[in-house]
């Protein structure tokens, strides 16, 4: 081999190995939500900018939770990025399971993340997951049915107004239910709704000594009000309805009002899917005059498990996916209504986005949620529709099962609350609280 050829071969080899060391393939576990699926479609843009390839593992929400929890708690190393929520982030951050996101680039502008989101995704002031999209909850209602009932929805309704309006809009002969709410068992389904609602009634899960509070009047008032209103004006079998069941009912024109995730606004106003797309109005989640509204706060966020060998590439991906540029990219291709909402302050200052019908109410809902002070009386936990402690998911699933049984008429509200108090007390004592 001549010297020149040898030099060419050595140069080529160096380039190949250098390129190989730089370009990584990262594996991302995510949930099958519209915004996440849309992001997968733009992966080529990330690859073109960084050279890194992405392998997606898309799972149903409960399967995803089980899968990523198993992996991170055993240090399995299957994923370089995990999609997690506000419940997991502070717990896993405290355990040292996540890489702190405290060194993101200046261009990324971490200060632009909505403060409520950054607060819920941090532990002791350090951000451990970057919000991809955030949501609160609000009232979505049929403007035509409201008008027909001779009522006007205020921007910030009370629970008594909602109940009255629900009764007025109910038309059983035409299969129209005044109100559709989650009653399905599960801490992230009916459990999330009733917990957020209970905050506005002055209830709380635990007092400052971590004692269960289901034997108090505010909880009794919450459940009695919910069941009474739903029995009067809710759909048949509401005890088994979750987000998707209510979405389907609302889109078919069978609900006068629906109080649920702000992200649903884009579904119910989409004329391809919704038969009532042009007659939907929005309002803040109701309150009871006690200073706390019944809206929750949630974010699907991207986090890096500690110990991954591809930390740098993973950080590059998170910066790309949760950046202002990504929002611009989606807006340019699919319109402003389809950009991931609820994560960045600048989005709500953008004049293009302000024209979207539900944008203003989504931001107001997010801003009115305070995960650090979720209840009327003080609590020792963080979280609005959950308490960010490892034991909560298991306890809340059982409690919500008892509540669903009460909605279905299998037991009384008093029996459900007594069982919830007993099982929560037992579980907290066993956990050493």
């Amino acid at each position: 081999m001549s010297f020149k050829n040898a030099l060419r071969a050595a140069t080529a080899l160096t380039l190949i190995t250098a390129g190989g060391a730089y370009a990584e393939t990262i594996t991302i576990a995510t949930v099958n939500n519209g915004d996440m699926i849309r992001m997968q479609g733009y992966t080529d843009d990330f690859t073109a900018k960084t050279g890194h390839e992405v392998e997606w593992v898309t799972l149903e929400e409960n399967v995803l939770r089980q899968r990523v929890t198993t992996d991170i708690s055993t240090k399995g190393g299957q994923f370089d990025i995990m999609t997690i929520g506000m419940y997991e982030t502070p717990i896993w951050g405290a355990n040292g399971w996540l890489v702190p996101l405290d060194d993101l680039s200046a261009e990324y502008d971490a200060a632009d993340i909505l403060p409520a989101m950054a607060g819920g995704l941090s532990y002791e002031g350090t951000l451990y997951a970057a919000p991809f999209y955030g949501e609160s909850s609000m009232v979505m209602y049929r403007t035509d049915l409201m008008e027909k009932a001779g009522m006007g929805m205020p921007e910030a309704p009370t629970w008594s107004f909602i109940r009255e309006a629900a009764a007025a809009m109910t038309d059983r002969d035409n299969d129209i239910n005044g109100i559709c709410l989650r009653g399905k068992a599960g801490w992230g389904e009916g459990g999330a709704f009733i917990t957020a609602m209970s905050n506005s009634f002055g209830a709380r899960w635990f007092d400052m000594d971590w004692k269960a509070q289901f034997d108090t009047k505010p909880w009794h008032d919450t459940l009695t009000f919910f069941k009474g209103m739903m029995d009067e004006s809710g759909p048949a079998g509401y005890a088994t309805n979750g987000f998707n069941e209510n979405l389907s009912l609302f889109q078919q024109g069978k609900c006068g009002m629906w109080i649920d995730a702000t992200v649903a606004a884009s579904f119910v106003t989409n004329p391809d899917e919704s038969t009532v797309a042009d007659s939907v109005g929005f309002a803040l989640a109701p309150d009871n005059g006690l200073g706390k509204r019944s809206n929750w706060l949630w974010a699907w966020a991207l986090a890096i498990p500690a110990g991954t060998a591809k930390e740098d590439a993973a950080k590059q991906f998170i910066e790309w996916a949760t950046s202002k540029d990504y929002i611009e990219l989606v807006a340019a291709n699919e319109g402003w209504a389809n950009v991931p909402p609820g994560a960045r302050t600048s989005l709500y200052e953008n004049p293009n986005y302000k024209d979207i019908p539900f944008a203003k109410m989504t931001l107001k809902s997010i801003l009115s949620a305070d995960p650090l002070h979720p209840t009327v009386d003080p609590v020792p936990y963080v979280g609005i529709q959950f308490a960010a402690i490892p034991e909560f998911a298991g306890i809340a699933t059982e409690v919500s099962q008892e509540f669903s049984a009460a909605y279905a008429g299998q037991q009384t509200v008093e029996e459900a609350l007594a069982k919830a108090q007993a099982l929560t007390t037992d579980a907290m004592e066993a956990a050493g609280y």
């Binding site: 576990a29 392998e55 898309t58 799972l59 198993t70 055993t74 998707n244 889109q251």
Partner: protein, 276 residues
């Protein structure tokens, strides 16, 4: 003596059989129907769903979004690999239990079956930790071994049942003619037990194909089979019935076609020795 069946009774029996068959098959039929509807139409009341226009839209979306053939390839490898490995271990085991039974053979058979009664999630963490140590997470070989192990009791039991129907004298005659143990199993026993072995293979391929707990928990991107492909289309926020149905049809179609063509063999194998 055969019992006389009146035409009326025969018609009733036929009607009942069709009705039960339809009830059992209805969920699959409905998945098939929904897979040809748009998401908006898939949530309508049943009669409106049937009246709504038929479309391939969901299949197109699923095809665009997921790598079907990668998942299909993994399913084939896992289903047939685990069944083949299971047969290699189970044939000698079943032979020994059927033709050279010991005092504890029945106990061993019952113990093997009892492992099927353990909830899988109870051993998830130990197996997950073993897989981490052995570097088997998200690998096809790791899943082939796990699927083989969970189906092994069924394979051994089925083969044991079939082998017991074969007269031991025939094997003795082969031995007297100078056949080695390997030749006895390969050239004498196997051809006679072929219908039973075929149904064992078919049943275990179906079980391995449909297995969802381990295949979801031990895989990520590389070894994920069609069960993971289906799981990726269930959504907590948003409509997904049509896409999930299309993904399900694509996942079950190969095994359904295989089962359709081999149903005679399957039934013959499963009822082998049931009536004497």
């Amino acid at each position: 003596m055969a019992r006389a069946v009146t035409p009326r009774r025969k018609a009733l029996n036929t009607f009942a059989a069709w009705l039960i068959g339809l009830i059992i098959f209805f969920p699959i039929l409905w998945i098939f129907v929904l897979s040809f509807k748009t998401e908006g139409n898939a949530i309508l009341p049943p009669l409106d769903v049937l009246r709504a226009p038929w479309t391939f839209e969901s299949y197109g979306i699923v095809q665009d979004r997921s790598d079907y053939f990668k998942h299909f390839g993994n399913s084939v490898i896992l289903a047939f690999g685990s069944t083949l490995l299971g047969l290699i271990i189970a044939v000698p085991a079943a032979w020994a239990m059927a033709f050279v039974p010991g005092k504890r053979t029945k106990d061993i058979l019952m113990w093997m079956l009892s492992t099927k009664m353990l909830p899988a999630v109870g051993v998830l963490y130990p197996i997950y930790l073993m897989f981490i140590k052995l570097g088997l997470l998200d690998s096809r070989i790791g899943l082939v071994i796990v699927l083989m192990l969970i189906n092994l009791p069924i394979i051994v039991w089925m083969l044991y049942t079939y082998f017991r129907e074969i007269p031991g004298e025939i094997l003795e005659a082969a031995r007297m003619d100078g056949a080695t143990l390997r030749e006895e199993i390969l050239y004498v026993l196997t051809p006679m037990a072929l219908p039973g072995m075929a149904s064992t293979v078919l049943l275990n391929v179906i079980l391995a194909w449909n297995e969802a707990f381990w295949t979801l928990n031990l895989t990520a991107a590389k070894a994920a089979p069609l069960t993971a492909f289906i799981a990726s289309y269930s959504s907590p926020e948003g409509l997904f019935y049509a896409k999930l149905s299309a993904a399900s049809v694509m996942a079950i179609a190969p095994i359904l076609i295989m089962g359709w063509f081999s149903q005679k063999q399957l039934v013959r194998g499963l009822t082998f020795g049931a009536v004497k």
